[in-house]
Every structure is written in C-alpha cells, then in structure tokens.
C-alpha cells in the first residue's frame, strides 16, 4: 500500500485536515536499561500526534499530556527491555512517510493521536487503519464516531457526548445545581494516585492537568501498557487484546479502565464540576455499591451494546 493511498483525504476540506504538527513517535526497542528480561515479542510502538500545541488551549494541553505520557512510557518500558524514540512530522506527507516506514518494520506497532474536530478525528482514524496503526481519539466527543462512523482501528479515550449527557443527568438527580461542567479529569482530584499525577504534571509544566492533558497522557499509557502486557505481534492482535476483558489500565481514577468491545469507548468515571458550589462529583454515583463490578458501574454512562450503532468494518483482514 502506498503512502498516498493511505492519506487520500480529497473529500475533506483541505484546511480542516492540515496536520498542524506530528509531535511524537514512541519506540520501544532500545535496550539501554541495565536489566533486560522478559522483553515483549513486539517491543516497539510509534505514537504520532497531529495538532500544533500553539493553535488552541486544548491542543496545548493534550500536547503536554502526551509529552509526559511518552516520558513515563519510556521509563516504564525500559524496566522491561524497551525504550522510547520520538519523531516529528510537520505535514500530512510526513505522517504518511512515517506510517509507511513503521508499517515496513516487522517489530513495531503504531499509535496515532490527533485531531480536534469530528472530521479530523474520522480522517485520522481511516488513515491509521490503512497503515495498520491504532488511532486513539483524545478530543472528539461526537457519538457518530462511536456509532455509524466507528472503526476497528479507532479507540476513544475522550468521553462521548452520550456519556457526558448521562453524567450530567446523574449529577442533576443527586443535587440539582446551576452550571455544570463534565470533565474527564480535574486538577483537584486526590484519591487513588490522582494527587500524585496532578502534582507530577504541575511540577513538569507549571500548570494544572486538564481533561485534554489527561487524555493525551492516558492514550500513550494505555497503548504502551497493552504492548508490555499482551506482546501482540500485529495491530489486529493489539485490537483484540484491547477489546478483551484482560485489558485494564490504571488512569489514576480509582477504577480499572477498559475499552468497550462494541464501540471501543473507554469506560471511565467522569467528574461533574458545579461552578456555583465549586464542587466535583464523581459519576457514576456509587452509593453503597462501592465494590460493585467496575465495568457494570462504568457502563451506566453512554451507549450500551444494545443501543450501539457501531458495526466495525474489516481492517487488515480482521472482521
């Protein structure tokens, strides 16, 4: 497959799909760590991020989160014989070149992070799938991307509009309030290592960790951990693992986080921030059911399998 075919986006507004920057490629492979044992079968991961940090506060935040995610993935991977390499691309041609290069390598998997609008996210997902890469959606909330436009190669760390609406509805039932903002992360969170993550981010960037920063950080973490744990030999194997019950990751939110097999949406607690009271409420609310199964609790937010309009199209021979 040629690079040109992989990024054929003629139907999309050109300006819309200018890849403002390609920020990073993460490679596990170097074995500089002193101790090497139990190296995963597939030891390299490239993460390519589209979006200039300077163009919007959301992109700037995600960029910081991704940067921290890469540093930490590097540190963790080195314990198990891996390493990290960062590459940058400044155009979609660069993206195509990097994806094609990575695809030729027999010993690496590729993750793509980028996009801010539904159109961008959709296009990046398509391109990623064409190059046997996994696209992790960090900023696009449109239900359509989890429904009719879903793709096997696309996973969503960003909460969907449906999840956000459910979160708002739950929080309103509990304590009707005025203005409510639904977030995937909040800089005031404390429990289950949230304080440590918030402090680490603030110490690194001198600013608060936002939902977008968290999404960038977690997108890298979840891919790198999946590779360390599952040692997948192909993108299809990685997708299969991420869809399985075995794949859970810690996002410092107090529950094991996992992707829904039917639409690849990340199950996660959300935080309803009431501007009037400056109060942060975690949803789903778990009154008296603290040890209830996390998947069941987190599936209270968003579209269940029966309501899902997603039917994955075959990617790389996978149904």
């Amino acid at each position: 497959m040629s690079a040109a075919a992989g990024i054929d986006v003629a139907q999309i507004d050109r300006r819309e799909f200018v890849l403002r920057s390609v920020q990073a490629a993460v490679w596990f492979g170097a074995t500089k760590a002193g101790v090497v044992r139990r190296a995963p079968a597939t030891s390299r991961l490239a993460v390519i991020v589209a979006g200039s940090a300077s163009e919007s506060p959301r992109l700037a935040a995600r960029s910081m989160g991704v940067a921290m995610g890469i540093e930490e993935a590097d540190h963790s991977a080195r314990l198990f014989g891996g390493g990290v390499r960062i590459e940058r691309a400044v155009s979609r041609e660069d993206l195509g070149r990097l994806l094609a290069q990575a695809q030729r390598s027999t010993n690496e998997l590729v993750g793509v992070i980028g996009g801010e609008s539904t159109t961008e996210c959709s296009a990046l997902a398509e391109t990623s799938g064409n190059f046997e890469a996994i696209y992790v959606n960090t900023l696009c909330s449109a239900d359509e991307l989890r429904g009719r436009s879903c793709r096997s190669a696309m996973f969503h760390v960003a909460p969907s509009d449906a999840m956000i609406a459910d979160a708002r509805a739950q929080a309103s039932r509990d304590a009707p309030a005025g203005e409510m903002d639904v977030q995937a992360w909040d800089a005031s969170l404390q429990a289950f290592g949230a304080d440590t993550l918030n402090q680490r981010f603030r110490a690194r960037f001198d600013t608060a960790m936002t939902s977008d920063a968290w999404a960038g950080w977690f997108a890298v973490k979840t891919l790198s951990e999946a590779i360390l744990r599952a040692k997948p030999k192909s993108a299809s194997a990685l997708i299969e693992y991420l869809e399985s019950d075995r794949a859970t990751a810690d996002g410092h939110k107090g529950r094991p986080l996992s992707f829904r097999a039917w639409d690849h949406q990340l199950r996660q607690p959300l935080y309803v921030v009431s501007s009037a009271e400056k109060r942060v409420v975690e949803v789903p609310l778990t009154k008296g059911g603290a040890t209830q199964e996390s998947r069941a609790i987190l599936d209270e937010l968003g579209a269940g399998a029966e309501r899902s309009a997603c039917h994955f199209t075959p990617v790389n021979g996978r149904q």
Partner: protein, 330 residues
C-alpha cells in the same frame, strides 16, 4: 514487659471483644493528616502518647532491636522550584520523641530497614528511584532506578533482596543487596502497592490496588506463581503482612473495609475481618497473636485476633492513620 489483660478503652464500633490477652509491646501509628505519630500500648490498647512530627508521615517501621522507629516525612504540597524538606524521622522508642532526621532523597513514601538496622531502603515517589541510606552516617550510599511512583519496599528476611513496587509502571523491581543493583523487574497487576516476604524468604506477596489482586512471587525463579483477585477485583488491596509461621497472608482491602486472610501457599481466601473505613497499613505483633490495622477514614486502629478473626479493640488515633509499626517488648 508482662502481658496485661485486655481492657477495651476506646471502642468506636460495637463489635468489641476481650477474649484474647493482647501482646506486650508498642504500636506506632503514622497519622498522615495530623502530622503526628500515635503510640499505642499493645497491652492496654490505649494511646499512651502522641509524638508530633514536622510534616506528613506515611511509611513507618521499627528496627528489629526495638530501639528506634523510623517515619517517612513528605511535604504536603509540591511547589515548583521550592526546596523540598523530605526526610525520615528517627524516633527514640524509650524517649518517645524524634531525635534525628535522615535525608532520604525526594518524597519518601515507604521504606524498609535491613535486618542489621544499618541500611534503609526508601522509595522516592516523584523520582522513580529507590535510595539506600546508611543509618549511621545518614548518607545515601546508592540510588537505583525503579518504576514510576515507587511505593512498597521490603527487605527479604535473609537480607538478600529488596523488592520495590511502582504504582504507575505496574512493576516490582528486584534489588540484589550484595550487588547493589536492580537485577530484575516483574510486571504485575495495575497499581501495585504493598510487598511482604514469607519468613523463609522463599515467597514475596504483592498487592495491586486497581488490579484488585495479590500476586505471589517465587523469589528464586522470580516467576509470578499465582495472582488472586479479591472481591471480584474490586477490593482495593493495599497493606500486606505475612504471619510469623508463614501460613497466612493478611491483606488490607481499602474499598471492602476488611482484612482478607489468605492461605500463604495457594493465596486462596480463608477468612475475612470487617474493620474500619479504608484500612491501609497493617502489621502483626512479633509473636503473631495480634494484628493491627490503620483505618484511614475512620481515624482508628483496629486490633484483630487472627485466631478468632474478631476485632478486639478499635483505638482512636489521629487524622488519616496511614501505617502501623509494632515494637516488641524489650
């Protein structure tokens, strides 16, 4: 010290029994939010005194000879560019006061003391390292890279290994004490917290808070032999301690508000004790006859009889009790 008859002095829940005579000795409790150490007389179950410390204490350990208790102190907030004042407070058990402070490397959370009392191994939470500190000189003699957010630290009873868990990297790093270097890293379930060795040093037990499980490691082959989920993986296991006879593993389950009792060979749950809210640190008396549990949200320490699996006393301590250390009678 002669063992005294148990008298429940401060009981905060109804389930209080006095069936078992408590051990002698003292229990030191780090109160994270109160910036203090409560000293409980293990004979009476009474708080004997409270020792103020200058900042947030978490990890707490006693030397084997019972002369000193060490408590890790961290700054409450991290201000960029500001000089940190983290350290490990040294408490003289007889004097019941802080007599010295060791520099620990940054943000010490947990640590372990070598059997001879000469070396402290401390995890530096924000640096992803573990430091070996010479107790006599106070100097850091070695620093090793471990996973991100290192947490639990334990020295094997035979003195050969130091195991360090790391919460973000999901790792257990194995330090060879003689070689003074990390010789292996194991990948365990999400957010590993506590680690404890069997008395014969053949096994290590690691809790994973988000994974909701306990893993048993063969310290010779360094293979994970069994991973046991507790309460369907939703129990939030944190503190872990092994009985002196090596037959039982006690795990503080933070979300279940209980101690899970596991068979040390199979990790099958064999019992359960309801304690206070968010139990965290856990330790045993040196003779194994009483179990002490710090309940972080109840501001109590539950004293549990491992034989009957009943809470004998709940002792009110300071705000957010984090860790417990038993000091044997001298």
């Amino acid at each position: 010290m002669r063992i005294q008859r148990g008298v429940s002095i401060v009981a905060t829940i109804a389930m209080v029994r006095q069936a078992t005579p408590p051990s002698g000795g003292l229990v030191f409790v780090s109160n994270e939010a109160a910036h203090s150490i409560s000293v409980i007389n293990a004979g009476t179950g009474r708080v004997e005194t409270t020792i103020p410390v200058r900042s947030r204490p978490r990890g707490i350990q006693a030397t084997r000879d019972g002369r000193f208790v060490f408590a890790a102190l961290s700054e409450d907030t991290l201000i960029r560019g500001a000089k940190r004042r983290d350290g490990i407070a040294v408490i003289d058990v007889s004097a019941r006061r802080v007599v010295r402070e060791l520099h620990s490397g940054t943000d010490p959370e947990q640590f372990a003391i070598s059997g001879d009392g000469k070396t402290i191994y401390a995890s530096n939470e924000d640096a992803g390292t573990v430091s070996a500190i010479d107790v006599h000189s106070g100097a850091v003699s070695a620093t090793s890279v471990v996973g991100i957010e290192p947490e639990g630290v334990a020295v094997s009873p035979d003195g050969r290994w130091v195991y360090v868990t790391a919460e973000t990297s999901n790792s257990v790093s194995v330090l060879d004490v003689a070689k003074r270097t990390v010789v292996d890293n194991l990948l365990v379930d999400a957010r590993p917290r506590g680690v404890a060795f069997s008395p014969d040093s053949r096994r290590a037990y690691v809790t994973a808070e988000i994974g909701g499980s306990v893993s048993m490691i063969d310290t010779k082959t360094r293979e994970i032999l069994v991973t046991q989920a507790l309460d369907g993986g939703e129990s939030k296991p944190v503190g872990v301690v092994v009985s002196p006879d090596g037959r039982r593993v006690y795990v503080a389950c933070g979300r279940s508000n209980a101690i899970a009792v596991l068979d040390a060979e199979t990790l099958k749950p064999v019992g359960r004790v309801a304690v206070g809210r968010r139990p965290w640190g856990v330790t045993l008396s040196s003779d194994g006859t009483l179990l002490y549990v710090a309940n972080g949200l109840s501001n109590t320490v539950s004293i549990v009889d491992p034989k009957t699996l009943a809470v004998t006393t709940n002792v009110t301590v300071g705000l957010k009790p984090w860790g417990v250390a038993f000091v044997r009678p001298r």
